[in-house]
Each structure stands twice: as C-alpha cells, then as structure tokens.
Amino acid sequence: MNGRPLIESERRKILPLPAETQCPANGTRSAVDKSVTVDVREDIRQGREPFSKIMNAAAALQNDEQLLVIVPFEPVPLVRALEKQGFRHTSHSVAAGEWEVRFTRQTMASPLDAAPAAASLGSRRNSGFTPMKMVEVDARGLEPPQPLIKILETLAGLSEGGQLNARTDRRPMHLYAQLEERGFTAETLEQPDGSFLTHVHRR
C-alpha cells in the first residue's frame, strides 16, 4: 500500500464494512468514515444520467461527511461543478474502468450548504473564520411572481463578488433570462424535499 491511506475499494476487500444505511439521496451512508458512497457505474452502463443522483447526495451531505463517487472514468466536468459549489476532491483509478472520487466540503461555507442558521454563522465568526459573501433567499411559499421579485431585489443589493442561494418551490424558469441580462449565471438543483436550490453568481 506504500503508506498511502486506504481507499474505499481496498478497505472493502480487507475489512468487512459495518452496517451501511441507505441515505435519502440514493447513496450508501457509512458510519466508519462518515462518508456517503454513490456508485453510478451501473447507471452509466444502463444509459441513465447519474448527475442529479450525485448532486442530490452532495446536497444532502452533513458538514462533516464526505461523498465517495464510484465511476468508470474520471468525471472531470462533475468535479468542476462540485468545486464551484465548494467541494474539494481527490480521485484515484482503482482498476480498469473504475475510479473513486472523494469529495469533501471546503472549510468555508459552500454554496450547497444551505443551512442558513444564524447560530452557525455566529460560531464561524467567533472562530475568526471569514465567511463567503453568500446571501440566502428563501422564496418558498410565495405566489408567482413574488419569488422572482424577492430574488432580483436581493440580487440588486449584492456586493461585488457576492453570491446568492435561492430556495423556491418550483424551478425558477422566468429567472434565468433576467439573471443573464444582469450579468449573472445560475445553476438550479432539485432538492430531496422537492424544492429547488438556485445558486447565482456573476459570470
């Protein structure tokens, strides 16, 4: 092993894994290393698009958990997408046609870490941690076009370099063109609870 840490597949061969539980986002949660494993090799073989499955698992991660994705190739665009959302990664080719990519949250608040809790913000400040200029907008429970208004009004006051996370009941179809016109871009992900999280940042 050359002293390097065991990667997941090697540990599987050596140690019987303790009880694993299915997590809501289609992954397998391990109590050993606080990781959620999403094996999408079969999805890809079956011709299914595994992207949302992985992103849902990423969105559902606890702060101290890691995401282990098992894929038949190195998924470079996926890595870029998750890096933009505040994840770091390490990837290893385990065998022919098998890659393991491990994602961990960076120490600063990631865009998908949508917990708006003021308490956690306070604790970050107390620890001397500089938070990302992230603004949270909860536009759920509003009749159209109130979500659009709420998001765009908040966006108007966003500082340079600031980013915005907006939660809505529906995919904000009318928002995208407005963002584009104002020099922003966005990614929207459906959440396990059926709501949508849109991450808005400058182009």
């Binding site: 011709g47 470079v76 913000l121 949270e136 009749e143 159209p144 009318h174 990614e187």
Partner: protein, 483 residues
Amino acid sequence: MAVFSPMFTAVKPSTVRPAPATLPLGANAPSVALPLAFILTGLLALGAGTGWLVLQPRLLAAYHYNQFVIAVTHLFLLGWVCSVVMGAMYQLVPVALETKLYSERLARWQFAFHLVGFIGMVWMFRVWNLKQVGHFGSVLAFGVGLFVYNMARTLRRVPKWNVTAVAVAAALFWISLTVTAGLSIAIAKCSYDSTEGLATAPGVGTLVDGLRSIAGFMSRFDAISAMHAHAHLGGVGFFTMLIVGVSYKLIPMFTLSEIQSKGRAAGSIVLLNLGLAGSFTTILLRSPWKLAFALVGVGALAIYGWELAAILRARRRPTLDWGIKYFLTAVVLLFPLSALAVVLSWPGLPLNVFTGQLENVYGFLGLIGVVSFAIIGMLYKIIPFLVWFCRYSRQIGRAQVPSLADLYSARLQAVGYWTFLAGLAAACGAAVLSSETGVRIGCGLVGLGVATLAVNVGRMLTHLFRSKTRPLSLQTSPVPKPA
C-alpha cells in the same frame, strides 16, 4: 453514452468547458407578443359571438341543427376558446413543464393559419357553403397540425413527466382527432358536388377518390350523431382535458398548495380518456351504451373535484382571488353539466322540443359556463403576468414596480363575475323555455360580463405603453441578508 449530458462525459481537463448544472439560461416561454395575439383574437371572438346571440336569440331558443348555430358555435369554439387555449399553451406549457418551446416560428405561422381558417370557416358556415368550409377548414387543420407538432416536440423535451404532461399529450391527440372528424363531416356533406368535374383532371384523381371514400365512409353514420361526437371530442378531449390537467399544476401554484394524491390525479385523467373514447364511439353509433361511458366521464370529473377540494383544503393562502373564483365556478358548473350529460345519454330518450332545448343548454352551459369561466379565471392570471413580465421584470430591484393586482380592477372582476353568472343562468333557463326575450336578456348580461373583462384587459395592456414605476426609496432598497 450518447444520451449523457456533457456533465458526464470523460474528457481531458484541457478541453473542459464548465457546463451549467441546470437548464440553459433563457430556457423559457416564447415572447409575450405571441400569446397576447392569440388571447386578444379570442376576446374579440367572444365579444362577437355574444353580440351575435343578443341579436339573434332564436339561435339558442330553438333547435340547434342549423347553419347559424353551427357558425356561432365555431366562432366560440375556434375563435374564442381555441385561440386563447393555444396562445396560453405556448406560454404555460414550457414554464409548467420546465422545458422550452420547440419553435416560436412555427407558432407564429400557426397563428396566421388559425386566423384565416377560423374566420373563413365561420363565415362559410353562416352562408352554408360547405365546399369553402372544407377549404378554410383545411387551412385551420394545417395550423392545428403545426400546433400539435410544435407541442409534441416540446413535450419530448420535458425532463420529468407528470400528470399535467400526460393530460397535455392526450389533449393533443384528441384535438387531432377532432379536426379529422370535422373535416370528414364537411367532406361527407359536399364532396360529391365539389368534386364534380374534377375526377378527370390530371393529378387530382387520387385526391378525389380519397375524398369520395371518406364521404362514403361517413355516410354510414347519422349526420347529427357525427356532429355530436365531433363536438364531444373537442369539448371534452381538448378543452376539459386541458382544464383538468393544467389545473393540477396551476391551482397548487396560485393557492400555495400541493397535489394531495397523485393516484387520484392520474386516475381522473385515465378515466376521462376512457370515458371520452367510449362516448365518442357510442354517440357516433347511437348506442345505448353511451350512458355507461357518460358515467365513466362523470366519475372522472368527480375524482377531479375530490382532488381539487383536497388541494384547496391544504392551501396555505386562505384568500381566493377572483381569478381562482372564476375557475372554481367552472368546476362547480361541471356538476349540472354532468347531470345533463347523464340525462341526455339515457337510452331511449325521446327527441322532442324539450329534450332538444336541453341539448342547447348542455352545449351553452359547457361552452359559456364551464369552459369560458375556466378560461376567464386563468386569463386573469396569465394576462397580468405576461404584461407585468414584459414591462417590469427588468426594473425589479432598480425601481419600485407595481404588483400584479395593480394592473387590473378587482371591483370590475367582481362585477363581471356576477353579471356573467347571472346571464348564464338566465340564458340557460330561457333556452329551456324557448324564450327568445329571456335568451336576449341572459346573453346581454353575459355580454356585460365580457365587457368588464375587456375593460380590465385594456387597463392591463396600457402598462405596455405607459410604465408605472417609481424610484426606489431608501426604505424600500433591498438589504441582503448575509449568511
């Protein structure tokens, strides 16, 4: 691998271009002008049709199988209902189903074919020139073909199918069949005359043979039964199917609720399709089994009403605005309409003056009651949003923009609601009694209701030409909340 998005393609890092993790920016409904053109055409047709009934109340007070009734019915159905529904679908379907309209250009062409087709058809029905009805009907049918193709290609892009998407797909099937049946009826009535002398012309022999074959096939069926079957295809298959299917998306959206039982919602759509397929066949064949299929359709609507009531009970917005009240009134009117459907489907029901008038009421209540109330309710949601979005969406955060409710008068909505409802009741009652005066009064009140709608629409449209924004004050400046 070809089916994968770019997100899941193994590529060398040097060639990577970050891909959006969502729909492309701008994935959206078409421009505002297109749906508004359809909707304004529809409103003009509604006004013209109502005025026609006021001037000729006998159309509703006497039996309906004559050229003028058929003309005014097509004015309402094609001019008013189809125009609005198609225009609204170009706007709503992409947004509600989270996709992008396949082609706005095709939609613009369809508008031209639709306009020429329905105006020509109504005029030719009025003068009873069925050969020209067939020609204008073909123009309209070509437009409907473009519409169906455009919507079908749009549906193919839907990322996640749900009950609304299924209902829209079913409605596209039924409108195609409706148009086919309508053209076949027209061919049956005129092909022998209109193809006289053409049989020997070069290049058209096959066409003439085809027309005559269709006419021969249609001659197997009773003309009135064929007309009633055709009307049910359009009325139930296209309009009611869309009202039911789209409301499963829009009512939860506007009342801040959710579908309470996906099984009930799906069941209502499945039963409605089954009931219509059976009703179409049994009406066409004058079969006594039409009662059974009418009951299937009524069962579907009962399940729909059950689910809608559950959605409303779970809503987080206690107050219902007038747009929703209009729509829910349409749903309530489904009860008397269903009762009439059962009565008129009763085996062995004699055709006399009274039952003939009941058929008139059935059609009027369905068209002006259920469908029109539902459409007006949805228009009070769609038009303000279209105008507001076109005029003010770019100003959000840069100026104080009016709210949707500022674009129209709620008082006019209320006045319009009650006059329309009173007119509907009076006209239906007068039609049963064959009272021309009563029909005139009733349709006059309906016309007043339409006038209030027109005034309100006018108020909304003024915003397109005269912006009513105000500068942001310090108090209203948005203050972002850091996380």
